[in-house]
Symmetry: C2
Subunit: 330 residues, 2 copies
């Protein structure tokens, strides 16, 4: 009666090497009063996990302790229960970790309907969707007619950001790292422009796509695209800093742009992370569910099989090789 | 019947050299219907003038055209009038330029009571005061018990920012460039701490003054203090970017801090310039007048004599040698 889980055994220096995570066999626990045992069916791999592996105590959420099961969100079903709010058969979503089974008292878990496919939940209703929703509606506050740019636009968050902005009547520019991704953005998702930041004439493409400048910037990557986009911002522009995936694996993070542009253009730059806003998950989830139902949000998933695929899967996020939301099917 | 005015004849490259501004004799004009002639009594020298001399079309206010009288705020009295709203003897304040006389239709000018001393007006009610007021109350939104840091703390804006924050019950740290200024801040203005950014152990002094971190940062300078202060920001901290006086004379502005801190600490960084908020001048002026009356705001002025002292006076702002609000008495 054992199950597998992945524990964090070493913190990353720069790259996510093979020796940081370790698959361990655990004995299956028995729930005590108020607890339940959940069998995970799907796990989500998200860029935020890179930060949770690091030791920075000042970060927005405590790092995973060495030796603990690695934090991750997932979907599962209650298979044993001593908690009357979560009877056997209840389907739940939450930060249960890279594991096949999890013991929980229900705190921080959300019940989800059985009929919603797991890929829709993890791609839209879970972390990517609520992150996109919060960044768009609470930080950028878009207005019809504005121009919005989003980096890692083909990623799980970025692709939703762009679609939400399109649905609100904005001109949307996506920045991604391959022709295939760019094509998906314009042809399938309806982005107005998709630019490959690896192109040598990226800045020229940017000024062609945004001849009147950028009003709203949803930043997921950092890296080479940041400077040119920052320089193209319009007066009173707003920037939501959600992720800097190009920076996390560096020994020393690149500096940001000079603050002179912040004054001259009276910009507002705001960083956000979702744990501050988890109390709004139900509200956001409902809005996202309605968008899904109306067919307003498309997504694609990149599914890996089995718990052991998690460590290599995480690296796909940082080398940009994933195509769509990374999900592990157990 | 001539008067002197200073015109902009060349734009600055880096330093403010002697050949940029030129004193010219003009014939005294006669007001036509709706106009009036104002005799200036006091001019204000402000850091913002550096930006107005540059050619950057994207800046928040159009640059002064080459050959035009240099923009500056000042105080004067109406000496001839064909505008019934501004009879002879009316005292006015506004952006009338580096000049002994100005012709105006009254647009953008504010009437001011005769009994208020010119140094109180230009130090508190004019640009420095409304800038400090807007930055503190509309951008930083301080709460009692928080820790606020302000750079160029002995400057005309910074000294008011710190005093407003003290009056609201915050712990206030000022950053300045000399021991004399630091002493003035703590002994005369009641700042809790004043740090000299030129001290080799500035970072150590900063962490001693703010053992629990910084909640609010009013940025006037850029330069070497910016990085350490940014690193000391607390989660959910707010930064008002008002000026970067250490950067304006550089050929290339220094980069800002990495945006990783913006995410980890969910910071909000907001740039502002006052021309966006000139419609609130009366409201702010009234609040500032009340603070002055209650004795809540101290100030000191550095007075130069005669129009010709303006070019050298401007340089004092950028080498940090002025002691108090720079005013030219005509």
């Amino acid at each position: 009666m054992t199950y597998k889980a992945i524990t964090l055994v070493k913190r990353p220096e720069t790259e996510l090497t093979d020796d940081l995570l370790k698959v361990i066999d655990f004995s299956k626990p028995t729930p005590t009063d108020g607890e339940m045992l959940i069998k995970l069916s799907h796990l989500s791999l998200d860029p935020a996990m890179r930060g949770w592996m690091s030791a920075d105590e000042k970060s927005y959420i405590p790092p995973v302790k060495l030796g603990d099961v690695m934090r991750a969100s997932g979907i599962g079903e209650v298979v044993e229960s001593k908690n009357e709010n979560f009877p056997i058969g209840t389907r739940v979503m939450g930060l249960m970790g890279l594991t096949e089974y999890a013991l929980s008292d229900g705190k921080g878990l959300n019940k989800i309907p059985k009929e919603l496919p797991a890929d829709a939940i993890l791609s839209v209703i879970a972390l990517p969707g609520i992150t996109a929703y919060h960044g768009v509606f609470e930080v950028l506050k878009p207005e019809k007619g504005q121009t919005l740019i989003v980096t890692a636009a083909a990623g799980s968050v970025g692709s939703l950001v762009g679609q939400m902005a399109k649905n609100l009547g904005l001109t949307v520019i996506g920045v991604a790292g391959s022709e295939e991704k760019c094509q998906w953005l314009t042809e399938e998702l309806g982005f107005d422009y998709a630019l490959n930041y690896k192109d040598s004439n990226f800045e020229e493409q940017l000024s062609n796509a945004a001849p009147n400048g950028i009003d709203l910037f949803f930043e997921n990557t950092g890296g080479v695209a940041q400077g040119p986009i920052f320089n193209a911002m319009n007066p009173h522009g707003r920037i939501a800093v959600c992720g800097l995936i190009a920076e996390y694996n560096k020994t020393e993070a690149s500096p940001g742009p000079s603050w002179i542009g912040i004054i001259k253009k009276r910009l507002t730059i705001q960083g956000f992370t979702m744990p501050d806003h988890f109390h709004r998950i139900n509200e956001y989830g409902q809005a996202l569910g309605e968008m899904l139902e109306k067919g307003e949000l498309k997504y694609r998933t990149h599914v890996l099989e089995g718990l052991e695929s998690a460590p290599k899967g995480l690296n796909l996020l940082f080398n940009g090789e994933n195509k769509g939301k990374l999900i592990i099917a157990l």
